[in-house]
């Protein structure tokens, strides 16, 4: 059986597709909207904005988050900004340029029509967020301020200090709160989705666990919207929040939703290096720092002199050297790989040689310390808290870390997965960033999906579905609930000796070594041999204490790690089958003589969408060809 992966791209010229699609989409009258119930899982930028907007339109929305409040979703940690093709700087920006930069940044592995729509609605996002009271940075004259980000030669990034994600999320949270108060959205916090319920092949509900009482409960609806974020924590150490996990999307995959391009992961170039074995997470230093910081390492191998004693002539500003036109603002995948290269050559700095300098000395000389403090004060403060070092006086040490995942559940132009009734938004889907996401585009995509896309496209599914909502008495709910209970009992009955955390750590290290910044057939084959053994040990020897009927953080973790232990294998398999390098997916066998990623457009200009076949059978790799009507495939050059 092969999947139906029709992307449902509207006909007509690229610039008119979205307008045309909006007009051709089915409408539901206000009186009928009330009759439809929508489940929204996750309340980050995509989930909160979707829940708020659908509630505002009159749908009956029930929203869930596993944190103690929707305001805590990890979108809150995004620092640098949000892109929009406003061209307020009069520097030659346009919808088409943002579209092209995003396609090119994604190494020509994203779907044209989706990306163009994203660029189109980007301008409305800024307007709407301003209306909600998001305190974007302003110039003295009162106009909105912009900064530059990697992969672009225009200034199109809007920001709120170093806390843009926080302010945008709190804006969406406030819109959500307005709907909760109005009674159109019912919000459930500390409740985790553990499975998706299919009735006659349609997504019609979910099964959840109340993380305080342990109650397992079914929820029925006319459709399910998942905005549950990315899977970066498969690497254990990442810039994701500790709670971020793959469970919702992976369990939907096991129920039949196709998982697209799981090997596309983004390693962010500017994070604080690992300090010790006990480290539980990595902290990002916003990419915006590269506007004013210069990246360098010593020219000489094993140079252990303090930075201040290395004269300029003995420093290698390698990004400026290799990519003169983009310099320190080269895209993330390229910057990360360059950092790995110089560290592999033995020129890395700091403990263990796994770090490069990000130096502000020149900018401080040029602009003065107060200006730098105003721009990045909170980041310098955070760096100081974590490392004990003062970056005004010595360069920061940074190293790449897992940050974002471009892969996700497959969706069509309506953001609906191959399972009818299951919509997937934000980082949880795969569609807009190709093989590499540009900085300040995640916030843009999350809000585009939630505020401006799903409210239009959801009607196409719902309109003919009137009156088909099952109740939770349907046998499909009973069966799914029983499956969820059985799995929880299985965790609690292992009664092994080894902590769940230690399994997660081992998996993470394995993924980082074999499926990280560089991959090869050899490393991936090794990982594919080792993961099943680790998984088996987990099921024989994991220590999950306590019971289900209480707040049990070990049990929560066990469920998530069990899914990562299966998902990691899928990622490696996808990486192994993609015999090319593109964006964040770098296969050592496929590189140009200069060490740049070498794509194979003839064989791999497609989306790989994996279809689950059960525990014992390998998944099937389905393909959605990427058809480029407007853009000419080219080798990415940032030189």
């Amino acid at each position: 059986m092969s999947l139906n992966l029709d992307p449902k791209i509207p006909s007509g010229p690229l610039e008119q597709k979205w307008e045309r699609h909006k007009f051709e989409s089915k409408l539901i009258s206000p009186a009928n909207k009330r009759k439809f119930e929508v489940i929204v899982v996750g309340t980050g930028l995509a989930g909160a904005s979707a829940a708020a907007t659908l509630g505002e339109l009159g749908y009956k929305v029930t929203a869930f988050c596993f944190q103690d409040s929707p305001r805590r979703a990890h979108s809150i940690a995004a620092q640098g900004g949000i892109n929009a093709a406003k061209n307020y700087q009069n520097d030659g920006d346009s919808v088409h340029r943002l579209f092209y930069d995003t396609i090119k940044g994604g190494d020509f592995r994203a779907r044209e029509a989706n990306v163009h729509r994203l660029a189109e609605v980007s301008v409305s996002i800024i307007d709407h967020c301003v209306a909600l009271g998001v305190p974007f940075a302003r110039e003295y004259g009162g106009l909105l301020d912009n900064r530059s980000f990697g992969g672009a030669q225009v200034s199109r990034t809007f920001y709120a200090r170093g806390q843009t994600g926080q302010q945008l999320l709190l804006g969406a949270y406030s819109a959500l709160n307005r709907q909760i108060a109005a009674g159109t959205v019912e919000m459930h916090s500390r409740i985790e989705m553990l499975d998706l319920v299919l009735v006659d092949g349609h997504a019609k509900g979910i099964v959840t666990r109340n993380m305080v009482t342990g109650e397992i409960k079914s929820w029925a609806a006319d459709c399910v919207v998942m905005a549950t974020g990315g899977y970066g924590n498969v690497f254990y150490l990442s810039t994701n929040a500790k709670g971020s996990n793959v469970t919702a999307t992976y369990r939907a995959y096991k129920r039949g939703a196709a998982f697209a391009n799981p090997c596309y992961t983004q390693i962010h170039p500017t994070c604080i290096p690992v300090a010790g074995e006990q480290q539980a997470k990595l902290t990002l230093m916003s990419e915006s720092l590269r506007n004013d910081g210069r990246v360098w390492v010593p020219k000489k191998k094993g140079d252990t002199r303090p930075a201040s004693q290395i004269p300029d002539a003995e420093r290698d500003y390698y990004l400026e050297r290799k990519y003169p036109s983009f310099g320190n603002l080269a895209p993330r995948d390229i910057s990360s790989r360059s950092a790995k290269e110089v560290c592999d050559e033995g020129r890395g700095v700091g403990p263990g040689g796994l770090g490069v300098y990000l130096d502000f000395a020149d900018s401080i000389k040029r602009l003065g310390e107060p200006k730098i403090r105003e721009r990045y004060g909170n980041l310098f403060e955070m760096y100081h808290q974590i490392t004990g070092e003062n970056a005004y006086q010595m360069p920061m040490r940074i190293f790449p870390a897992v940050h974002y995942t471009m892969g996700g559940l497959w969706v069509d132009y309506n953001l609906m997965s191959n399972l009818p009734g299951l919509f997937v938004l934000g980082e949880a889907n795969f569609s807009d960033h190709g093989a590499n996401r540009l900085g300040a585009s995640a916030l843009m995509q999350g809000l585009a999906d939630g505020y401006f896309v799903i409210p239009y496209t959801i009607g196409n599914y719902l309109a003919p579905e009137g009156g088909k909502r099952p109740t939770t008495d349907h046998p499909a709910f009973k069966q799914t609930e029983a499956d969820v209970r059985a799995q929880i009992n299985r965790f609690l009955s292992i009664k092994g000796k080894r902590s769940v955390e230690s399994f997660h750590r081992e998996l993470g290290l394995l993924m980082w070594d074999y499926c990280g910044m560089a991959r090869s057939e050899k490393s991936l084959t090794r990982a594919l041999n080792r993961i099943p053994a680790l998984r088996q040990e987990f099921w024989e020897n994991a220590n999950v204490p306590g019971n289900n009927e209480s707040l049990n953080q070990s049990l929560e973790r066990a469920g998530r790690v069990a899914d990562f232990l299966e998902f990691g294998e899928l990622m490696c398999l996808d990486a192994l089958k993609r015999n090319e390098s593109c964006g964040g997916h770098f296969r050592e066998e496929y590189q140009t003589p200069e060490g740049e990623a070498q794509r194979d457009d003839e064989h791999f200009a497609h989306v790989a969408a994996w279809e689950y076949q059960g525990e014992k059978t390998p998944p099937i790799r389905n393909v959605e060809p990427l058809v480029y009507e407007t853009v000419k495939l080219a080798t990415r050059s940032y030189k």
Partner: protein, 248 residues
């Protein structure tokens, strides 16, 4: 380094809690306070005990989930949040008391976790601008001088952790409410609902069981987002004006 911990353990809201002694051994100085607790939990697990439950998520000081009272101070000696506190701030051999955020409006859940949904309900009462999706004018058509935008941003930086209420002898949430009232009240977009907002939020704050401000200023001292106590003055001013107009 080695540390003596006195940690609040409580099975659930119905049972009484108490402090339990633990020894944390061989803790690296470069590890964060929460990583230290991770290590203690690994140790508890290996001995067949149930680990200590505590809230945390982003571990970079922005989500507001972590909420420990350390040696009697919410977020302890950290300048920001609990998760940004590093062990180098402590002396080898020190005794550390670890308790949850305490306020009558934050009922306990388990060990060091509490329920702070009262904060969400206050925001639902009025912490928003009623802007319909699709109805907004161009972002630059509303000119906001930099000083006003900066003032709004300063108040908007609140992370909703609840340290202010936990630190206040009256368990007052006025810094939290004042921050939102000041953020939205400083912007032109927030003017139409300014009075309704402050009346509704203050009413909800009282209903949830938070006390009033009597100028201890403990809230400002512990606030990880450096929200200035001036927001309380702004809230009181807005509240008085709104109340007066409401009664006319």
């Amino acid at each position: 380094m080695n540390l003596h911990l006195k940690v609040w353990r409580q099975k659930n809201a119905e049972t009484k809690g108490h402090l339990v002694d633990y020894e944390a051994r061989n803790i690296p100085e470069d590890c964060s306070f929460l990583e230290m607790l991770d290590l203690v939990n690994e140790d508890l697990l290996s001995r067949g005990d149930e680990p200590i439950a505590f809230d945390h998520d982003c571990r970079e000081g922005i989500c507001g989930m972590c909420s420990l009272t350390i040696n009697g101070i919410p977020h302890g000696p950290s300048e920001t949040t609990t998760c940004q506190l590093y062990m180098r701030k402590f002396k080898d051999g020190a005794t550390i008391y670890i308790e949850p955020f305490r306020a009558s409006a934050f009922p306990p859940l388990r060990d060091l976790t509490v329920n702070r949904s009262a904060f969400d309900r206050i925001q639902q009462a009025g912490g928003f601008i009623s802007a319909r999706v699709g109805a907004a004018q161009d972002g630059n058509s509303i000119l906001i001088p930099k000083t006003e935008a900066d003032r709004a941003m300063e108040a908007a930086a609140c992370i909703g952790c609840g340290a202010c209420a936990a630190a206040c002898p009256n368990a007052s949430a006025m810094l939290f409410v004042g921050a939102k009232v000041t953020h939205l009240g400083s912007l032109p977009q927030g003017q139409p609902e300014r009075e309704r907002r402050v009346l509704a939020m203050v009413k909800k704050m009282d209903e949830e069981g938070f006390g009033n401000c009597s100028n201890y200023l403990e809230c400002e001292a512990v606030c990880p987002a450096e929200i200035p106590v001036a927001v309380i003055g702004q809230m009181n001013r807005d509240y008085s004006v709104a109340l007066l107009k409401d009664n006319l």
